[in-house]
Structures are given as structure tokens and as C-alpha cells.
Symmetry: C2
Subunit: 138 residues, 2 copies
DNA sequence: TTGCGTGCAAAGGTTTTGCATGGCA
DNA sequence: TGCCATGCAAAACCTTTGCACGCAA
């Protein structure tokens, strides 16, 4: 594997911003705008390529909420293992919830045993409506 | 509400095909190709507009699996409760499995009761590796 | 020096929109 | 007849790709 072994200035800037955002999910547009506004403009294609590599390496998580707004990215903090976490994303306000719950392992076990499918929790996100956005609609 | 009250030939053809597809998920491209091949070509924008209205009315469900391949649509058959509907997408071969299982309602109940979050099953997809792609390797 | 990373531009694909025309009620 | 629906083309939008140059090791 020779991909993404170089420590370039751009990679560093991108990772810094991703870490700074913490659990917040950000779009490529936001990344580009931030870097430009901070005097470090980066080519869009470079951002996409770096993000792709980081996703592949497991450093960053990619979310797709709807086709219109594009994908969102989030830095994965190594200190918090997200394997036992639910990822709940509200389709209304866009908030991403991290919920630590042992019930997730039951889901994994069930789907593995009954449906022969190995869930990848780092890629799976539950979409729905959070409490504060109210359940009156739908 | 004055939207989509007209019973046009195009709307009828679209609904007929959606019903014919049953629980299968189809893309706009597939709809367009089918209608063209059956001697009833329909403008792409009309298909999008009709589908949007049908989704809004709750007649059709829209799935967004990943940004690349575009959205999928599925007719909602009132007779068959789609409450117990898993969506498993293999990250390796890309196959989308949709399996009926009552366990899904347990997941919904758990997350609603313990985490105050209303899961939208039509938007939630479990990512992972299917059996034929070998579940041990990531 | 070697080869990956970058950036620009162009291409690719999906979805939306403007506007004139056609069709339902 | 009054609108809404349609369809074509163009635009908008996100993302990828080709290619030459720059830079890390």
C-alpha cells in the first residue's frame, strides 16, 4: 500500500480541520470554504481524494443524507471506539447522535445468524427524526 | 392542494410499472428505459416530478443508497406491511438485500424507548458484507 | 531521483428548472 | 376555458478523471 503515505501540507490542514470539528459532520463545500477563508485554499479534487483515502483507512466516516446536499464527513476519534455506538442522524435538523448501547451487538448477532450478513457499524447510520424535531409529521 | 390531482396517461403508466415491480427498488433510469422500450417514452423531468409528488403523498418510498448510483424508488403496497423490512447493502459487491424480519420492530422499539428517536426504515440501510463476499474480511 | 500528491480543467452523472405547448377537468 | 402536467433543453450540482507540474522521501 503506497497510498496516502505522504505527509503533505494539504493533508495536515484537512485533518486539523476535521479534528477541530469533532463529532460534527461537514461537507466538502464547508471544508473548501473554511480552508479558503483561512488563507489555505485547496483544490476540490484534492479534498475529495484525501477524504476518500481517509475513509478507506477508517480515519474518517462518510455519511450520505440526501442526494441534493452531498456527502458529509466526520473525523473518527480513536479514543472513542464507535463500534458499540448507534449512529442516529436526524433527517430534519441534521444532527448526528452517538448513542452507546449494548443493544447494537444484539442487532449484529441477529443479522449475522439469521441473514448471513456482517454489519459494518462504522458505515451504518440510522436515519429518522429526533425528539426535539418532534414526531408530529409522518 | 392542487398538486398531482390530474390523472394523466403518464402518471398511470408510471404507477403501473411501480406496482408491477412490487418490492423491488428501481431507479429513474430503469423506469425511463422500461417505458421507452414499451412504446411509452416519458420525459425524465416528468418522471422526477411525478415521483416527487408520489413520495410526498406517501405512495412511493425513496431510497438514497449512495451518491453515485442515484436514488431508488419503491411502490408502497398497503396490503403488505413494510414495517419489518431490513435493508442490507454489501459494501463489496454492492448488492442490496431487502429482507422481511420482525426483529426490525424490536430495534425500532428499543431506539424509540431508550433513545427517543423515531427510526425511518425507508432511509436506513445497514452496510456490511454479504455471505457470498465472505464475511470475515473487511 | 522516483513516484505520489496536487490543482486545474473537463468530463461524468443525476437532478432541477424555464418556458412553451399540450391535455385534463 | 383555466390551470396543471408535460417535454425539451439548459442549467445546476456533486463528484470523478486526465494530465502536467510540484513536492515528499
Amino acid at each position: 500500500m503506497k497510498k496516502n503515505n505522504y505527509n503533505t501540507k494539504q493533508k495536515e490542514l484537512l485533518l486539523n480541520y476535521l479534528r477541530e470539528c469533532g463529532e460534527n459532520h461537514i461537507t466538502v463545500q464547508e471544508i473548501s470554504a473554511y480552508l479558503t477563508n483561512n488563507g489555505n485554499p485547496m483544490g476540490i479534487s484534492t479534498i475529495y481524494r484525501q477524504l476518500d483515502r481517509l475513509v478507506e483507512q477508517g480515519t474518517v466516516r462518510k455519511y450520505i443524507l440526501d442526494g441534493r446536499s452531498g456527502a458529509c464527513y466526520q473525523y473518527i476519534n480513536e479514543e472513542k471506539t464507535c463500534n458499540s455506538h448507534f449512529h442516529l442522524k436526524c433527517v430534519n435538523c441534521g444532527t448526528l447522535f452517538h448513542v452507546d448501547c449494548s443493544f447494537l451487538s444484539e442487532i449484529d448477532s441477529h443479522i449475522m445468524e439469521h441473514h448471513r450478513f456482517a454489519i459494518d457499524n462504522s458505515k451504518t447510520v440510522f436515519y429518522g427524526v429526533c425528539e426535539s424535531c418532534g414526531g408530529e409529521c409522518q
